[in-house]
Amino acid sequence: MMGPTGLIPLGGVLQSAAAWTETTWLHYFATNYKWVWATMETLHFLGMGLLVGTVGVLDLRLIGVAKGLPIESTQKLVPWGIAGFVLNTLTGIVFLAGAPYQYLYNFAFQMKVLFMIAAGINVMLFYWGGAWPKAKRVGAGESAHWAAWLAGATSLFLWIGVMYWGRMLTFFRPPFVVPPK
């Protein structure tokens, strides 16, 4: 086995995490039934559409698209975005369990996780950092203030980035990993 590659030099920790993952029932499930990977990928794409579509409507409104929508009303779509996020976390865990080396040592995967963490921080700053109480009073036809605009633009950028790194996974596959399928 080659040494760790990618962004984060976790070395031994990563190695033992990957080795342990391959002993789990989830790894067996993900790699021993042909339909599992295809089904999980399909669900992962549907979850992506649900997440980016619903959260995207709020983000677009924050940056000034469809200003006829009161901002607080668009926020009611967010639970569906969270549902998409949960679906994608679960299906993502199946991929991770199925091919731990392909992901843990992959620069694109590490970037994808970083972008997801950044998106999480952006959401927390938006809701608890003072921008949301002001933004939710923005009615039809009004513009969001700069902090809310910035949160929306950042969210769009980060989720598009998450899709970018997700797509780059196969092109950054570590050289010692045999492709699945």
Partner: protein, 165 residues
Amino acid sequence: MELLASLEHSGFGTWVREAPTIWAYPTVLFLHTVGLAFLVGINVAIDLRILGVASSMPLAPMKRLFPWMWAGFWVNAASGVALLIADATTKLANPVFGVKMAFIALGVVNMAWSKKRLFSDPEGLERGPASSHAKRVAIVSLLLWIGATTAGRLMGYLGPVSGLE
């Protein structure tokens, strides 16, 4: 078949498929994914609203989201043509590809039609809950986009598969 092979082996097809640069195949695939998220994702948000989710959100201003869905559609039409040329003989021999195209054609027609009919009467949209007719249109829309996305993904698994994703 010869036409497809020559398309596939054209300079453009070969470049998309084989150029050792992030700007060829990886970027085309990425654009196809972002286009999907905007076209299908925003359409799903509108469908959910028609079905009663986030009912405090007025429907009529959602009309302004249609250009974003059309942008997603055209990005995917263009990137899809590039992906098709790069893998023409395999993709066109795959019945799942035909199924995907059918779902997309119906999805787009349904979307254009709902914009024309549902969104042409903003006052009607604002009056209480959406009509049962509008709800049927929304359910059909959800099913068509789920079908298109599923067929797209399964093209990598069912029928002839070249290994190009």
